[in-house]
Each structure stands twice: as C-alpha cells, then as structure tokens.
Symmetry: none
Amino acid sequence: MKRQQILDAAYTVFSRKGYHRATVDEIIALADTGKGTVYNYFVNKEQLFYTLIKERSARFEAELINIAGLVEPPLGKIKKAIKVFLEFYVENADLWRVLMHEMRGLGHEEPSNFTEAQREKYRARFQHTTSILEQILQEGIDQGVLRICDVHKAAHGLFSVIVMMVFQGFIGEKGESIETSANGIADIFLYGVVARQD
Amino acid sequence: MKRQQILDAAYTVFSRKGYHRATVDEIIALADTGKGTVYNYFVNKEQLFYTLIKERSARFEAELINIAGLVEPPLGKIKKAIKVFLEFYVENADLWRVLMHEMRGLGHEEPSNFTEAQREKYRARFQHTTSILEQILQEGIDQGVLRICDVHKAAHGLFSVIVMMVFQGFIGEKGESIETSANGIADIFLYGVVARQD
Amino acid sequence: MKRQQILDAAYTVFSRKGYHRATVDEIIALADTGKGTVYNYFVNKEQLFYTLIKERSARFEAELINIAGLVEPPLGKIKKAIKVFLEFYVENADLWRVLMHEMRGLGHEEPSNFTEAQREKYRARFQHTTSILEQILQEGIDQGVLRICDVHKAAHGLFSVIVMMVFQGFIGEKGESIETSANGIADIFLYGVVARQD
Amino acid sequence: MKRQQILDAAYTVFSRKGYHRATVDEIIALADTGKGTVYNYFVNKEQLFYTLIKERSARFEAELINIAGLVEPPLGKIKKAIKVFLEFYVENADLWRVLMHEMRGLGHEEPSNFTEAQREKYRARFQHTTSILEQILQEGIDQGVLRICDVHKAAHGLFSVIVMMVFQGFIGEKGESIETSANGIADIFLYGVVARQD
DNA sequence: CATGAATGAGTCTTCATTCAT
DNA sequence: GATGAATGAAGACTCATTCAT
C-alpha cells in the first residue's frame, strides 16, 4: 500500500519536475511516508523512476499487441494504433518527456543519470512499440494497400509525429477529442498533403 | 575572446551532459579560464545557456526566412526548408534536445530551471520557425498545389517528424546523406503512404 | 536456538566488517531470522556485540586461571600461558581487533559507540587476563628464577607482543605452528636479544 | 591557511572519534570553515584522513632514518630508536590507533573504509619504519653485540611492545618521563627477564 | 578584466530501532 | 516468541555563486 502511494507520488513529482529536480523529500511528503520506506521498496531514485515507467507502459503495450493481432483491414488497424498511442502519450506526456530526455545520449560520453544497462532495457521497450507499428505497416504493404516504402523509417516517422505533437501540447490540452486528432494525423500520414488531381 | 572560449566550451559541455549535469567547473576547465570570468560575462548558468541558444539559432532562422522569400514552386520550397531544418538539427541535436527538455512544463507549477520569462522568449523563437513553415504550406494551398488542411497542425507535424527523427538518431549518424533523408521525409509528407490507384 | 544463530552470525559479521560497518540486516540474513528477533534477545547492537565478547572469552579465562594454578616451574608456566594466549588471539583475532578499537578513548570526551559503563566492564576483563600473567611472573621473581623488574609493565609488554604479532599477521597465517611461535616469543622475552658472553 | 585549519581540526576529531564517528560537520565547526572548503582541498573524507597521516609521519620517518645512519654502537642506536618511536607514538597515539584499526583486514572481504590501494600505500609506510629497526638490529648482530635471531620478527616484536604500551596508556600519561620508559623497554628487550647467574 | 578560494544550501542514501500482527 | 514494514535522524558530498585581490 505504501509502495503504491510512493509510486503515485513519484509519478506526480517526476512529471512535474523532471528527474533531477524531483527530490525524494518531495515524493515522501506527497506520499505521506517516511524516507526509509522508499528505500525499502526501491533501491534507488533511479530504480524508482524505472519501476514507474515499467508499470505504466505494460498495459499500453498489451493493448498495442492486441490491435496488431486483430483481423481487420490495415488502414483500420493503423487508425486504431494511432489512437492508442495518442491516448497513452496524452495520459503520460510529462513522465515520458522526462524519460526520453534521460534516455538520450546514444553513444555519448556521459549521457544521463542512468546506468547504460538500464537505458538499454528501456530503449528495447521503445523499439518494441515501434516494431509493432512496423508490423502493421508491413501488413498493409503486403496486401497492396500501402505503397512500398521503408517501413522502419515510416513507423518512426509516425511515432515521432504522435509523440511530438503531444509533447508540444497540440493534442490533449485543447477541446478537440483524441479521436479527432487521431483521424487528422492518420489522414496526413496516409494521404499526404499534396492535392489530388481527381 | 574569453567570452567566445566560454561559449564554445559551454556548447560542448551542455550538449554532452545536459543542463543539470553540466558544471561550471567543467566548462571553465575546457575554456581554460577562471571561474569568476564566467560571471563577468554571464549573470547565470541559465543565462549562459540561453545566450548559447540565441547565438546558435540566429543563422538558421535567417536561412529559413530567406527560403520562404524565394520565388519558386511551393514543393521546391518545402523540400528546401526540410533540408535546412535537417541540417540545423543534425548539427545541434544534442543542445536542442537539452533545450527542449528544459522548456517543458507548459503551465506547470514549477517547471524547470528557467525563469518563466526566459522560457517564453524561447518558445516564441520556436513558434517563429514553425510559423515560417506554415507560411510556405499556406502558399502551396493558395496556389492549389496542396490540399486544404490545418496548416498549423501540418507544419507542426512536419517539424515534429524532422526533429524527432534527428533526435532518435535516424538521421545524421548513418551513411545516408541529409539530402536523401530530406527527400524521404518530403515524399511521405507530401504524398502519404497509401498506394495510388494509378 | 535462534539466539545462538544470531550470535554466530554476529561473530562472523562483526569480525569481517568491524562494529560500524556490520549491519543488523547482514546479521539476520546470515542467521536466517527476522529483524525483530534480534531485539527480543538483545537490547542493542551494542549489547549483542558485548554478549559475543563475554561468551567467547569465558573459556579462555578459565584456561588461563587453570595454568596459573598448576604446580610447575615458572618458566614452564610462562611458556604455557603464552601458548594459550596465542591460541585464543589467533582464533579470535578479527573480533578482538574490533573490540580493542571500540574500547579506545580512555577518558576522552566522546569515546566510542559504547556506554562508558560497558567499556569499563570489558576493560576489567582485559586487566584480569594480564593480572594472571603478572601473578605468574611474580611467582618467578619470588622463586629467584626471574630478575626483579616491574611485573605490571613486563606483563603488559608480553601481552602486547603477543596480541600485536597476531594482529599484524605474524602468527597464525603462515605455516609455522603456534607452538613454535610461542617458543620464539618466550625465548626473546626471557633471555633478551643481547648476545651472552658464555 | 584554511587547509591547515582543516587538517588541525581533522586531527583532533579523528583522534577523538575514530574514522567513522568523525563527521565532516564537526571538523568544519572546529576549523571554522565552510563544508565546501574541505572538498576543495581534499577529495574525500578518506583522503583527508590520509593526508593527515602522511604529513604527520614525515618528520618521524626522517628522524628514524637519521638515527640509523649515525656512527655509534648498536645498543645506543637501539635505545635512541626506541625513544624516537615512543615520542612519536605518544604524541600521535589516538590518530595512529585509528589508522591501525582501519588498516586491518589483511585479505579479508570488506575490511575497512579504505580503498585497497590506499591501504597498501600506508602498509608500505609501516613496513618502512620497522625495516629501519630491522636494519639497526642486523647491524648489532653483524657486530656480534646481539645474538642471532629472526630480525624481522624481533623488530616487529619491539615495535609491537612500544606501540601497544603507548596505546594501553602505560606510557605518556603518567608522570614517568619518556626517557625512563624507553630505557625500561630497552632493558627487557635487550636482556630479557630471566635472572643472570652472574 | 581575470581570478579562484570560500561558501552552504540542497541531495541522496544508510541503518538502528520500534511496534502491530 | 517471531516477524518485517515503517521510520527518520544523521552523514557524505556537489556545485552555483560571491567577492577580495
């Protein structure tokens, strides 16, 4: 129970302050617990943060896998996937912004506060979600619905747009529903911005 | 002269370490100067960082404005703009990653290390570059080359893809030239991923 | 039963880590017991430590008293006593090293982790063993076998050599038997290092 | 100047409290300085401690080497060396007690607060002083003044007696002069406790 | 202008001890 | 008796900033 209180408080504080500026003191104040308790459940500030990430992303990943497995036209799958992505990132925008920042430094000297091992684990997690996107796109190509392109890049491009738009506050903070936003993104992604001759 | 040495060193250190982990000590070691000297030229670690941002982005913005002013078909302008964006962000990927992280916290309680005033100034700077993109897109719509859509969103979507792909390391680290990458992005952005019937 | 498990584990951990670095957590892990159990049997980490000392030294003291009581020439007694000392300190070198360190601070402001009362009890225990040595030496003087000297100092000197040589690793870790070591020490103690004219 | 204040304060606090219980806070309170200042001059609590040891022992070692080099009968040298040892250890009894405790753990798992590298450096320092004693004893044997024995052991035995007697408070705290104490030790060490027939 | 010694507020982390079950 | 979750006081260390020279 205390464990959950701490996780909830940590979620709030990390989201608000980022990793560095988040202090254990503030977390325990919010969790209404003692400082030692944090270290009974988590070895580190770092490991607390990652536990948070892991637990939050589990459900999202499951949902995504589920969509990929549906028997349905690819375009429908793509739209659904975009919606699930949007929902997740809107919900967890702040924390994932922090995560992405701390995960940066691909190959750089002293890149973040995290162990290289830890970073690798979570980079894998990211790869996983985009690889599901790739799979869906590939399916579309195989069925002749999508034109041939580099699915790896296309999936990342799509992922980028989604994440970036959420982070930039274009989605989720205004009145517009996520459904509508998802459709807008899908529209441009699928058909481009060039006017059709027909 | 000392001022420039400090800025150069700061660029390197902030890029490598991020804002928090960058220490004034490391900067002066690299700049081969005394600690007090930093505070003669810059009021703050914060203000040093932003001076860096300001000076680095000036040339980029000028170039972008220049492209917007060219007399040329919109599609060509778009491709050129994408290339300029890519070049700039590949060059300054690390520092801008840091900047974007520190600029987060839109409207939140205690948002970052920066003054709200400072943050506002640089948000404006971002808006400025995307607004040039918007302008180019709008021109395309007016000339009937692009289909009608929300230019604000489209511009941000494009911006997002560019920035995110650089940050994710998709561009600039592999053998592929920036020219090629720019074309690939432009292709999907303009024509979408859906297969044409023709 | 639990009590003994805890004592055994405590012996190991205190010996290995010293008093401060020994943690209750490590002791209970080794003792395979719960943390509360320790505090059922011992009021304190401190009192746990001293219980250890007390129980370990009881047999040694008994043996020493026994030797003092033998009817035998003084030189033989001295050799036997040296051997018993060596055996005990070799066996318990690590723990006694720790004890001696914690017992320091004779008369100082804030001397150690221990209550002054506790320290006094164990200083008395030390005095006790050396006083038995004194007694044996005095017997030798009374019988004209040893030359007249300050028995108090001489006993402490002998004690010092024994303990220090064990602590320095001169005895007990090499191939040499304790018997041989004991004879070597006795030889110099009894006859000095100066060459005889005869 | 601050550096010296810190060293002086550290000497006092480490001597009084031992390594673990000595806190940086207490040291700076005594040194009348800021906490950061300590870390400007010393990388560590550990390194502060060892700087202390190094600076304190330098003069002592020089004096000892000097004695070894004198042209004088060996017995005189031995007496002089004992006196120098006594003086040094009486002066620095408390700090060296602490050092010896922290240096323990020859080959043990996790023996002290110090790096193995650091410990090795100071073990060497100890070896150095006793090796000078050995040298003096060997000279005595070579000149036929001392009987043949294991000089290594004998030197350590002598060293042990000296150190231990100081640590036990036998020397330096009572009215007796160091001169007298030195003679007493030398007497037993040289001639033993056995009564002469002559 | 340039310098760098001095500073102390702010952090994470450890660990003996308690107490309700 | 046995247990272990909860606790918080205490401690080492970092680093931006100041100011006298």
